[in-house]
Symmetry: C2
Subunit: 166 residues, 2 copies
DNA sequence: AGTGAAAGTACAGCTGA
DNA sequence: TCAGCTGTACTTTCACT
């Protein structure tokens, strides 16, 4: 699974579906310049091969009552692989934690969390996160306002790079 | 636009489409227990009202040649509204910056960035980000590995809360 | 290209303020 | 009574072979 296995039409399909994942197959086919049946086959095999992990509606968290978004920087006592995995497993089970990334440097993990309000985040923070085994330090930062939130990757950058290589 | 304006069926629709945004309308209608036409109308009005911001294919950044993911914590010299907006506008134009969130505390902004490789990120970092006007400090952390990356919000938490209130 | 299914439209009936 | 939502029937468009 690598970019080199994709032709320009595959990349156009990915770019179009990243921008609008609910586009019909005929619309997609028209945009990428092929007929519908082969276009559908391409989409299927892109899913199969894992280039497309899924399709999701982008819902407005605020409108749904999740008023609070928080980044939590977590430091652990032990960075042994077993302990790292154990912490990741906990994050996977906490619904308020939407993203968990292991980082280099002094911070071990960064977590992106959502919560209905500050008090429910606080109770998660003190009751679950900071009191979890192996957690040494947690620094939290409230999101005051979101300025940009684009999903996926910049396909224009990708195409520029491919041109340079060619 | 608030959660209180949505009935249980609307919330089921949102949950289903968050999980699988390319589901057909009849399948969706079957799952939420109504017939197809009103289901479609509900989806349309949820989009209209902004509860659904869009539909996106979730593409695998690594497979597409974006090997590097970085969090950048940015501090500014001036936090005047004009200067904050100016920085946000820059972020909006930088394709490698996928997310930009304004935070409380010592960090002013956190940026989630992607890049094809370390060297192209470095050239963005030194050539664009740290050299941008008003930027005082930038601390970057490489994502060693991703442990969780769920889109959207946890609907089970939402339903639990609504039960408690009722 | 052709078939079967889904999307989308128009209209009529039901339900609650 | 009236607004709002629902379901049935129908046409157009799409998915898939």
């Amino acid at each position: 699974m690598a970019i080199s296995k994709l032709d320009p039409i595959d990349r156009m399909i990915l770019a179009e579906l990243q921008a609008d994942g609910r586009m019909t197959n005929v619309e997609l086919a028209k945009r990428v310049g092929i007929s519908a049946p082969p276009c559908l086959r391409r989409v299927r095999s892109l899913e199969e091969a894992g280039y497309i992990r899924g399709f999701h509606a982008d819902v407005d968290a605020r409108a749904l009552g999740f008023e609070v978004q928080v980044f939590a920087m977590v430091g652990l006592h032990s960075q042994a692989e077993t302990d790292l995995s154990a912490f990741e497993a906990k994050c996977a089970e906490w619904p308020l934690v939407r993203e968990c990334h292991m980082l280099n440097g002094e911070i071990d993990f960064i977590l992106k969390c959502v919560a209905p309000d500050l008090s429910s985040f606080q109770s998660f923070l003190t009751g679950q996160l900071t009191s979890a085994e192996n957690v040494a330090s947690v620094k939290t930062s409230l999101v005051i306002r979101g300025a940009k939130d684009e999903p996926g990757v910049p396909f224009d950058v990708l195409e520029q790079r491919l041109e340079q290589i060619a």
